[in-house]
């Protein structure tokens, strides 16, 4: 079943403004992991806010598990199904204590007390933060704060999780922590993931990727297919990850390496050439 479906979606912040999204159509299957790539200001973050009705679309149609987002009556149900983790780790927590914050979502939808307690424990475990249950949110690192934010979303038991540049403000360690959690959720819980990012490396974990530029979808395919077309990527103000740059330089130097995306694979490619 289609978890999210965009059909010719258009959006502008104000009527007189230029469209920040034009003619956007794509869908995400249940259980799928899709990455949305784009430079800052390409319109990729608008997608997240449209999907759960924080913004209202100007044209086209968005459905979540078949339910129309533009109908105000459906919003509450849709927000239960679509969880969003935002960019700034400091601006998403409502309560001072970790467990209180995670409970905020379930409290809002009227979950019974015992069930909230179970969900808080489960969500903390899922993001590996159980030992921080009683800590002050302000004493955590950026990566830990974002994991609490993920747990806060998980406690609502959503079917889709959207990460709206959730790693952009983190250091490499925090970024890895978040990506590990996201991959695990997708694999083990079958959670549908929509990952919005400008880090090309992160898109590698996805089943499919789409690339946005000036409010339009300009590329679609597996991450590997997209990285192959690196010259086109550059025109959308996206740069290859360093490993891609190295592949490119080696090729120019006359070494027939394939486009690969991990250090291990590139080492294998080079070694294969060496043994010939």
């Amino acid at each position: 079943m289609k978890a999210v479906n965009f059909e010719n979606v258009a959006f502008s912040y104000r009527e007189e403004d230029e469209f920040s999204l034009k003619n956007v159509s794509f869908s995400v299957e249940e259980g799928e992991f899709v990455a949305v790539l784009g430079h800052n200001g390409s319109g990729k973050s608008t997608l997240a806010r449209l999907t759960n009705g924080l913004l209202h679309l100007t044209g086209g149609k968005i459905t979540v598990f078949g339910t129309d987002v533009s109908d105000e009556k459906n919003l509450f149900e849709i927000r239960k199904k679509v969880g969003i983790v935002f960019q700034n780790p400091d601006n998403q927590t409502v309560a001072s204590i970790v467990e209180d914050d995670i409970a905020f979502g379930p409290e809002n939808i009227g979950v019974a007390r015992e069930e909230i307690a179970r969900r808080v424990d489960w969500a903390l475990d899922a993001v590996g933060m159980t030992e921080y249950k009683q800590r002050m949110v302000s004493s955590l690192s950026g990566g830990q704060k974002q994991r609490v934010a993920i747990a806060g979303v998980l406690a609502l038991k959503p079917q889709i999780m959207i990460l709206d540049e959730s790693t952009a403000m983190l250091d490499p360690k925090g970024r890895r922590e978040i990506m590990d959690v996201v991959k695990k959720l997708n694999r083990e819980e079958g959670m549908t993931i929509l990952l919005i990012t400008h880090f090309m490396e992160e898109a590698l974990a996805a089943d499919r990727a789409i690339v946005m530029n000036r409010g339009e979808i300009v590329m679609r395919g597996t991450p590997e297919e997209i990285f192959e077309r690196h010259e086109e990527l550059e025109t959308y103000n996206l740069a290859l990850p360093r490993i891609g740059v190295l592949c490119e330089m080696l090729k120019k130097g006359g070494m027939p390496v394939r486009y690969v995306l991990t250090p291990e694979e590139l080492a294998k490619e080079i070694a294969a050439c060496a043994s010939k």
């Binding site: 430079h39 800052n40 200001g41 690192s141 950026g142 952009a168 403000m169 250091d171 490499p172 360690k173 400008h198 880090f199 090309m200 103000n237 996206l238 740069a239 290859l240 990850p241 360093r242 490993i243 740059v245 190295l246 330089m249 080696l250 130097g253 006359g254 070494m255 027939p256 250090p263 291990e264 590139l266 080492a267 294998k268 080079i270 070694a271 050439c273 060496a274 010939k276």
Partner: protein
């Protein structure tokens, strides 16, 4: 100006005993003309270190109320931390710290959040006005502001009267950098200059820093988590971990210590990872971990067109 740090220790005035030391006995020299990298996690002490360099945190001996400890006979004299930057002695109460700050510019993380003035030109002029000892004429101010705005790659006439809050994220960051370099600091320190930018924005900022290094500020120091950034750009890098200085050497040597860095929870550059994998496969390649050198060495080792 050369930076010479000796025996720098710093403790928080905190009641929690475990987080007492922010810095422990740091000894470090940064030569004029370097493009220096500072690496470390949040809480490793690197921010505290950087704040010492322009006396945002003063050395104990420079505090007004400082009195030297009385030394009893037979006991060694106490060792006080010292920092010298060019001719400035940061441990001396009489040092003109304001002048020092105009010579050692710091661009903090997400500097766009410090913008406040009505126009870009006014914001950039803020530091200039604060630091100049005699009031500057309108023309002089304008001249210097123009120079700084152009140095960060913005069109002076297009942005000078704009509100800094109407600019794009990347432009805001450039304006913030212009606001620091406007006093022509000899040393420019940037905390995570590329944080939050997309890959292209990152590349542009690094290019800008190299341009500034060549023409504007003699020494550039960047604080970064990104080992690829460090290995591609820096002449030397210092690694801080748990309030101590663990390494200080050129990237070409630093990343030979891959395992130690990883036990400190730090990353290594992609080139170092590939070299390690190659070694496992029996192909020895040694480079200085920059793209160019790495590719050249690989091609040398494996042979370019021949395979």
């Amino acid at each position: 100006m050369r930076i010479e740090v000796k025996h720098l220790s710093y403790t928080y005035h905190s009641s929690a005993p475990f987080s007492a030391y922010a810095l422990q006995d740091i000894n470090l020299t940064i030569e004029e003309g370097e493009f220096f990298g500072i690496i470390g996690h949040t809480g490793s002490g690197k921010s505290t270190f950087v704040q010492h360099l322009n006396a945002l945190i003063k050395l104990p001996t420079a505090e007004k109320k400082f009195k030297p400890k009385k030394v009893r006979k037979g006991q060694p004299a106490p060792v006080y931390p010292s920092i010298r930057i060019g001719t400035y002695d940061l441990g001396d109460k009489k040092t003109d710290f304001k002048e020092l700050r105009s010579k050692v510019g710091i661009v903090f993380q997400y500097p766009e959040y410090q913008l406040f003035a009505e126009t870009v030109a006014l914001d950039v002029a803020f530091g200039l006005r604060n630091f100049s000892k005699t009031p500057l004429s309108q023309e002089e101010t304008e001249e210097k502001v123009k120079e700084a705005i152009e140095a960060v790659g913005l069109d002076y006439h297009a942005v000078k009267d704009a509100s800094p809050f109407d600019l794009s994220g990347g432009q805001k960051r450039r304006v913030a950098i212009a606001g620091v370099i406007v006093t022509k600091p000899e040393i420019l320190i940037l905390d995570e200059p590329a944080a939050g930018l997309d890959p292209l924005g990152k590349r542009e900022i690094m290019e800008l820093l190299h341009r500034l290094h060549a023409s504007w500020c003699k020494t550039v120091i960047i604080v970064s988590h990104d080992m690829d950034e460090i290995s591609e750009n820096c002449t030397r890098a210092a690694v801080f971990s748990a309030s101590r200085l663990k390494f200080c050497m050129p990237p070409s040597e630093l990343f030979l210590h891959a395992e130690e860095l990883e036990t400190l929870g730090l990353d290594i550059p992609v080139t170092a990872k590939i070299q390690r994998e190659l070694q496992k496969l029996g192909v020895e390649v040694h480079s200085d971990f920059t793209n160019e050198d790495f590719v050249r060495r690989v091609l040398e080792r494996v042979g370019g067109t021949s395979c």
